[in-house]
């Protein structure tokens, strides 16, 4: 199948355009088209996995065509061990989110059209190998996300949407300046990732430092790293469930993906110069995020802040640039967090749909009346707090192994995060699921429906599978990451 990556990027766009031809009232048809589109993309992603050769660390499925010759801009896409897991994760979560969105009744046509446009943008970001293209897709994601939060969100949706938009745009400007700096300091001027990576060590040290800081601001906002995280809880709390899933599952990974794809290999001097600040910001995120979680009474905010904490592990892992375990831990965490937090948001949505509240103190004893829901929720909570046998443990452990030799004391502090995580999640479990059943909900909270279980099962299976046998995931990325470490060491 030639042009496989292009298909993955543009099939969602085609699906989105098709939806525009429907009448607003043809809800079932619109949902079917969206489901079909995302299913096809997921199917293609399996073909992608089948054809991908993991032992080859260079770009595969490369497509390159001149686009704007004057500026030396190409339509240049490809995939390697860093993008393959992300492309798969995006395809999977997109389908799940579409299915989870069947409950949306307001302006169905626009909702699904935007959602598919969003998938197009996400796929594009993970496949782009040219800065121009990358930037275009980066901004393409922004627009549908803005509307999805701003139109279909909760009570303070406008505020949250604008905050999300401004933060990301603020980062994008820094990224744009960084791109231009790189562009004008190479001869011939190039925007090609592969050429910039090859020429990375020849860039002057001062330029590398400057560009690294610019990119870091852009990516740190996305991750979100402390202190750029404040947009995240607002966006999550207001966003509809499926949008939260995509936001936490995929969009946050854009930040760490950018570091791995762009900052680390293109700016080896800058990277090595800034490992300590990155590690410190990462550890602050881990601890700060966890402490904030302890004080939350809104389930969704709790999960949102736990993302801040968990993405801190990614940053700590990246900072351990010389160690395969650290970087691989970061990649593992990106994938694992996508599964676990995606599922947690879905599950919070399940209870919100029934009770129309997310207040932790409003429930109690749910395990008595909703055994399936409670069991699944506790399974994912355990995954999130790093219980061995589930994927979260593997990534945290790898990050610790990787960072310990370089950042001994910082890692010692980061380990505290494991305890804090257990603290806030068990507190939540106790208040929501244990204790006496709150009689106010008698008969009002049916257990999970088939459609809801359907969206959770693939995530649970993957979480357990890669937790038990991590090679299922590391198999795809290890050679690429080994290569990446050599690039950083230049």
């Amino acid at each position: 199948m030639s042009g496989i990556l292009s298909w993955m990027i543009f099939i969602p766009l085609i699906g989105g355009v098709v939806i525009l031809f429907f009448n607003q009232e043809q809800k079932t048809a619109i949902r079917s088209v969206a489901t079909l589109t995302t299913s096809v993309v997921l199917g293609i992603s399996f073909i992608l996995l089948a054809q991908y050769n993991p032992s080859n660390p260079t770009m595969q499925f490369v497509e390159r065509a001149s686009w704007i010759p004057v500026l030396n801009v190409y339509y240049y896409i490809g995939a390697d061990g860093i993008s393959i897991p992300m492309l798969f994760l995006t395809a999977l979560l997109s389908l799940i989110s579409i299915v989870a969105s069947f409950g949306i009744e307001k302006r169905v046509k626009e909702y699904f059209a935007f959602f598919l446009l969003l998938e197009c943008g996400m796929m594009g970001v993970f496949a782009s190998l040219d800065f121009f293209l990358f930037y275009v897709f980066w901004e393409v994601m922004l627009v549908p996300m803005y509307f999805l939060i701003g139109v279909w969100g909760g009570p303070r949706k406008e505020y949250a949407a604008i905050k999300f938009f401004l933060y990301t745009l603020f980062g994008s400007i820094f990224m744009l300046v960084g791109i231009l700096l790189l562009y004008f300091n190479t001869t011939p001027h190039t925007l090609s990732f592969t050429e910039l990576v090859a020429g990375g060590p020849t860039l002057s040290h001062n330029l590398q430092l400057l560009v690294f800081v610019f990119f870091f601001i852009a990516f740190a906002i996305k991750i979100p790293a402390w202190p750029f995280h404040t947009w995240l809880p607002d966006a999550h709390v207001e966003a509809p469930t499926a949008v939260s899933v995509i936001l936490a599952g995929v969009l946050l990974k854009m930040g760490t993906y950018g570091l791995l794809r762009i900052s680390l290999p293109m700016l080896p001097y800058g990277t090595n110069y800034f490992v300590w600040p990155m590690a410190i910001i990462g550890v602050i995120g881990i601890i700060y995020g966890a402490l904030v979680c302890m004080a939350q009474t809104d389930l969704k905010k709790l999960v949102a802040y736990s993302s801040v904490s968990h993405m801190g592990y990614c940053l700590l892992g990246i900072a351990a640039v010389t160690s395969l375990a650290g970087i691989e831990g970061c990649m593992f965490q990106m994938f694992s967090h996508g599964l676990i937090t995606g599922a947690l948001f879905l599950l919070v949505g399940v209870i919100y749909d029934r009770a129309h509240t997310r207040d932790i103190n409003a429930f109690g004893g749910l395990w008595l009346k909703l055994p399936v829901y409670s069991g699944v929720m506790i399974l994912f909570v355990m995954g999130s707090l790093g219980l061995p046998g589930l994927s979260g443990f593997v990534s945290e452990f790898m990050v610790f192994i990787g960072s310990f030799p370089t950042f001994t004391w910082l890692t010692g502090i980061a380990v505290l995060g494991v305890l804090l995580t257990a603290g806030y999640f068990l507190r939540m479990v106790q208040r929501v699921f244990l204790g006496e059943f709150n009689e106010k909900w008698e008969g009002k909270l049916p257990d999970m429906k088939f459609r809801e279980i359907f969206t959770i099962v693939p995530l649970a299976v993957l979480m357990i599978a890669i937790g038990f046998y991590p090679k299922i995931l590391t198999y795809w990325m290890q050679p690429t990451l080994e290569h990446l470490i050599k690039l950083i060491a230049r």
Partner: protein, 520 residues
């Protein structure tokens, strides 16, 4: 056959999966699957033990779980005599507890779930004792923590129960932070986490000095949490909120034993650092003394046993810290039997009178002959009375303090207190006039599913220790040993003293709570 020893933990895991996904609506079937699985594991452990008696090993089978180029993490089996014994102890105690639970949990609405948890718990513990490296032992270590959370908080409608589960999880996890750091130091220094390879690095001097001291103390922090040693002992008394058979399982053969097992398994690391070994010994004896003194005044029957457990674990930890490998592991084994028996007896009493308060009991031996008899046997065993199991293992614990006078004095004091509080419990519960007539009238002997496990464990509480009789040709110390075979010599003098101390503790309790000639 040894390379297939993974079957032993796999059986209860399978039972867990089957119950959760398929049979949870069928109570009897779920219980049957769970019990069949654990008895299967027990059956497989027997030939494993005999194979190990023929060939001490260690036998190791593993594959790479994660590869990082410069080092690998493995998943594998390490089977040596200690493992073989632990497999047997865990499967026996777990089998007894599960059969007992048939009766004890009879009316519970979450019967199937209870057995599923027990199976998962047993799986975790069996995996833990079979692990061949620090990463894997940590994985199972945490699973034990999770399942203890579920089991302690089993009756989660009660706030106190869900609090206790949470407390157990968080407290043990606090210790686990140290464990993680210890593992990271070890990996950093050795480039491997495989037990054998790490120990070789120590023997060859590669892993030495302050680094090994730090690693040992951090790893010990994990054991302090799980084995409820001072200052992380706080979770254990609260954990009595769980169903009593769960207490028997957690506090005898499984969870709390894990910490002692970890220290025994990592003996080389602790012996490589005098500082670390001393820390271990001091924490052990401090805990032992403190907990025994608290047990003296408890009126909740389960809390006496809870503090007793903490105290006895302190014994083992201290012995290991003083280099008494045989003593620590031997007591771990005998304690597993008599302590699970004590808990199950207490459960039988609670089942009959529906209270934990000893002040509301009294005279129950008239109504519960089997429970009373087995409880007395277990108490004689823990008090170290000749010729019961506890006598032989406690004697070795005392012997391990030779050359450390302070430790020896404290150890003997603990022995006295142990004998006293145990018989205080027995006399208050089973003898004298009933203090609450209504409860007494209601009391009855427990069903056979409960009394048969009691009798079986009573048999072990008497005879299991005989494998350690020092002048037997193939005794414990020539099977489970650290480094070279140590021929434990029997100290008639010490044995006599500790026996006399045990008897005097019983005597004092007799005077105070049976004769009432001394006022309490």
């Amino acid at each position: 056959m040894l390379q297939n020893a993974w079957i032993i933990p796999a059986l209860p895991l399978t039972a867990f999966v089957l119950i959760v996904f398929f049979t949870h609506r069928h109570r009897a079937l779920s219980a049957g699957i769970s019990i069949a699985a654990i008895i299967g594991g027990f059956a497989y452990s027997i030939p494993v033990l005999f194979r190990l008696i023929a060939d001490h090993g260690p036998h190791e089978y593993f594959f790479n779980w994660l590869e990082f180029g410069s080092f690998n993490l493995e998943i594998g089996l390490l089977i040596d005599p200690l493992t073989a014994v632990m497999l047997l102890v865990v499967t026996i105690v777990s089998s007894c507890v599960q059969i007992y639970s048939l009766g004890y949990m009879h009316g519970d609405s979450r019967y199937s779930r209870y057995f599923a948890y027990l199976s998962l718990f047993t799986f975790s513990m069996l995996g833990l004792v079979l692990s061949n490296n620090f990463a894997m032992i940590f994985i199972f270590w945490e699973l034990v923590g999770l399942t203890s959370y579920l089991l302690i908080g089993f009756w989660f409608e009660k706030k106190s129960a869900s609090d206790a589960g949470k407390k157990a999880f968080i407290t043990t996890r606090t210790g686990d932070l140290g464990f993680i750091v210890g593992i990271l130091i070890t990996l950093y220094a050795c480039g491997t986490l495989n037990f054998g390879e790490v120990f070789t690095k120590i023997e060859t001097g590669v892993f030495a000095g302050g680094l090994v001291t730090a690693a040992a103390i951090f790893i010990f922090a994990g054991a302090v949490g799980k084995s409820a040693q001072f200052p992380l002992h706080v979770w254990l008394p609260d954990a009595m909120e769980g169903p009593t058979p769960v207490s028997a399982l957690i506090h005898a053969a499984t969870m709390v034993a894990a910490g002692v097992y970890l220290v025994a398994r990592g003996m080389t690391i602790f012996m490589a650092s005098d500082t670390a070994a001393l820390v271990v010994a001091i924490i052990g004896i401090t805990t032992s003394f403190m907990a025994a003194s608290i047990a003296l005044v408890q009126i909740d029957i389960k809390r006496v046993l809870a503090y007793s457990t903490v105290s006895q674990l302190g014994y083992m930890i201290m012995a290991l810290g003083l280099g008494g490998y045989g003593a620590g592991t031997f007591h771990l084994m005998t304690h597993a039997f008599f302590k699970s028996l004590l808990f199950l007896c207490a459960g039988s009493v609670i089942h009959a009178v529906h209270t934990n308060d000893m002040l509301e009991m009294g005279g129950l031996s008239k109504k519960m002959k089997i429970t009373a008899a087995t409880m007395f046997i277990a108490s004689f065993s823990i008090a170290g009375i000749f010729p019961l199991s506890g006598f032989w293992s406690k004697d070795e614990i005392v012997a391990s303090t030779i050359g450390h006078p302070i430790f020896m004095v404290l150890t003997l004091l603990v022995a006295f207190m142990t004998a006293f509080y145990m018989f205080r419990l027995c006399f208050l519960t089973f003898t004298g006039a009933p203090r609450d007539q209504e409860k007494f009238d209601h009391a009855h002997e427990s069903p056979k599913t409960m009394t048969y496990p009691l009798m079986f464990l009573a048999f072990l509480a008497v005879f299991a220790g005989w494998v350690g009789i020092p002048w037997l040709p193939h005794s414990w110390s020539s099977f489970v040993y650290y480094g070279e075979v140590e021929h434990a010599s029997f100290h008639f003098g010490l044995a006599g003293i500790s026996l006399a101390i045990g008897l005097s503790g019983i005597g004092l309790a007799y005077l105070m709570y049976y004769k009432k000639s001394i006022s309490a």
